[in-house]
Point group: C2
Chain length 220, copies 2
């Protein structure tokens, strides 16, 4: 594995899991020293993370871990709803039914997984498989690229949400509706169900943000 990939993955991971918090200032030399690499791969990692929007250049002082304010999260979902609804519409038209039938069967037993907190990881893994299947069925490189661009920010935002069992069970139902629409090839239903799911998802995150005493944004 290339050193620049190591640096990228390491920094990205730390940003996504809030180890490196918004507002933290990073410099090339400091990170090169910490990660035991030279400045060159760090530089490349900074460039990639800046392109993704996780870092913002701070002229003369380095880069800063980007902000994730309430307003930013709203803007993020504003676009996410548009992109993923459209994606669901296209997937419903282009999918291989067998793949999504299998996923439907898995989602049928999902509520059982959510009874015990221990099995949550399995549920999250299932959702990831659904995402992967949709990516594969999408067949539109540009739309996929646009969705991928949002994912790191969504990962960061999701960390803010307190996923209680009630919300997760509801989410499982919403996913089921989407998967069934895709199986049926009902593109409009798939799009609408996705839109509804994401808006509820946003609401859940914003609820968590609003009831958290801790200030999330540290710089702007």
């Amino acid at each position: 594995m290339r050193a620049s990939d190591q640096a990228f993955e390491a920094l990205r991971g730390e940003i996504l899991e809030w180890t490196l918090r918004p507002g933290t200032i990073l410099t090339e030399v400091e990170q090169a020293d910490r990660l035991k690499l030279s400045r060159t791969p760090i530089r490349e990692a900074f460039a990639r993370l800046t392109a993704e929007g996780l870092l913002v250049p701070l002229p003369g002082r380095g880069v800063v871990v980007s902000d994730l304010s309430r307003e930013t999260i709203i803007e993020l979902f504003e676009l996410r709803v548009v992109l993923e609804s459209e994606a669901a519409r296209l997937v419903a038209l282009r999918r291989d039914p067998a793949v999504f039938l299998a996923l439907r069967d898995e989602f049928l037993v999902a509520p059982a997984l959510l009874e015990h907190d221990d099995d949550r990881r399995e549920y999250y893994a299932l959702v990831e498989r659904l995402d992967a299947a949709m990516d594969a069925a999408l067949q539109s490189r540009f739309l996929l690229a646009a969705i991928r661009q949002l994912r790191p920010h969504l990962t960061r935002a999701r960390r803010l949400a307190r996923d209680d069992s009630a919300r997760l069970i509801a989410a499982a139902g919403e996913h089921m509706t989407i998967v069934e629409a895709i199986v049926d090839g009902d593109s409009e239903l798939a799009a609408n169900a996705t839109s509804i799911h994401l808006k509820k998802s946003l609401k859940n995150i914003l609820n968590a943000v609003d009831t958290t005493t801790e200030t999330v944004t540290t710089s702007r």
Copy 2:
């Protein structure tokens, strides 16, 4: 100006104006030599152009100027319609009316500009001002970023189209409809008019592609 910016702008310009054609293989050393720079800034330029999708890594052999096939153009517009329709919808809700009233007045006299081929540049400049005004009114960083991501590819695609006067005059009319909808704050009309405009635009480009004997794609 930084050397890496120079390299980026130079290569980007050449790709967009088809001086560097799809399928052309570039290596760091070769370009460093040609542009009289060291490998470092070239490397950075390659990375940025790869992130934009104008270059594709060719493991062990350098990078290659990305393909722009008929299919790619269709996928490009598939996403563009979604993004720019949504943008028009939001702009109609968030715009400063004065700005777009002024633009409307300019578009009123646009057909006159298109009578002489010499004045086309003025018309193109007007369209650019409209885009800039919409970007500013949009107030959604993520949506704007997604649209910006498409622009270089659109610039390249547009080079393929043969814009005859008839098409340009029609386009001016379509733009006028969009601007008026924005002035009126009619978000649905703005979105629909944008969708129609872009679909006609795509048709025009595809017509040109289909009637061109020259093969556009050189690699895949």
